[in-house]
Amino acid sequence: MQRVPILKLGDVLIVSIQIDLEDQGVLALQEDLADAVVDSGARGVIIDITAVEIVDSFIGRMLATIAAMCDMLDAQTVVVGMRPAVAITLVELGLSLGGVRTALNLEKGVALLDHIKGATP
């Protein structure tokens, strides 16, 4: 099964989805991230979907689940790099991704995490 690498930068974990993931790969990423957050004590998680061409309800639910799960493990999640066409499609599909923080790109995602961590030390 394809696995997405999880990179650590300071107390932030960075995941960049570069392949068209099968559903099992999506579920594996959820579990791998939970383990990685606990093992590393990370306070932030950035999921980069710049290369993701579509977000359907399954992947959308994965993003919401990861955000909720990381919140329970004391880490904040930011999804970055959503394509405009993906945002339009998600809204029409009826998926609002409530509870998922987003930023336009990796740089803004890092800045957002710094801001959140600064506000709640």
């Binding site: 068209d20 993931l21 099968e22 559903d23 099992q24 061409e53 579509i54 977000v55 359907d56 309800s57 399954f58 959308g60 639910r61 394509r83 405009p84 066409a85 993906v86 339009i88 499609t89 029409e92 599909l93 009826g94 998926l95």
Partner: protein, 133 residues
């Protein structure tokens, strides 16, 4: 109709293959990037539905023409248990599985034409069409 392709949906790898095939035909048909994204997303939902609720099925990918307009038509068929109450199945949030209940209702919003034929024990056929603008 100028082209036709048929694919089996028997595993989650096939769902990925359907997404990729629909994307490439959508590009050839001349759909805009947003419309490509919508039809590929709908295809992903409907292929997964066939897999999860019927144990598999198949999809026919057709390029259709209506005067000067070209469009992409997808016909998803399965021989699963069928849908007893189609109206209910098209309500946002309604699910008998573990999903979010957006597959059918959401897909309908993403396409220009949506047709659902199903009866208990008779399987399900969902036909969707997206026209190039």
């Amino acid at each position: 109709m100028t082209a036709e392709r048929e694919m089996a949906i028997a595993s989650s790898a096939d769902v990925v293959a359907v997404r990729q095939a629909v994307r490439s035909v959508a590009v050839e048909t001349g759909l805009s990037l947003v419309d490509q994204t919508k039809i590929v997303t709908a295809a992903s939902e409907l292929a997964r539905n066939a897999l999860v609720y019927a144990g598999g099925g198949d999809v026919r990918i057709l390029v259709v023409e209506n005067g000067p307009r070209r469009g992409l038509k997808l016909v998803f068929s399965d021989e699963g248990p069928g849908i007893p109450d189609i109206e209910q199945a098209l309500v946002d949030g309604w699910t008998t599985g573990t999903g979010m209940g957006l597959g059918l209702s959401g897909s309908r919003r993403l396409v220009d034409e949506f047709d659902l034929i199903s009866a208990p024990g008779k399987g399900t056929t969902v036909t969707v069409t997206k026209w190039a603008r």
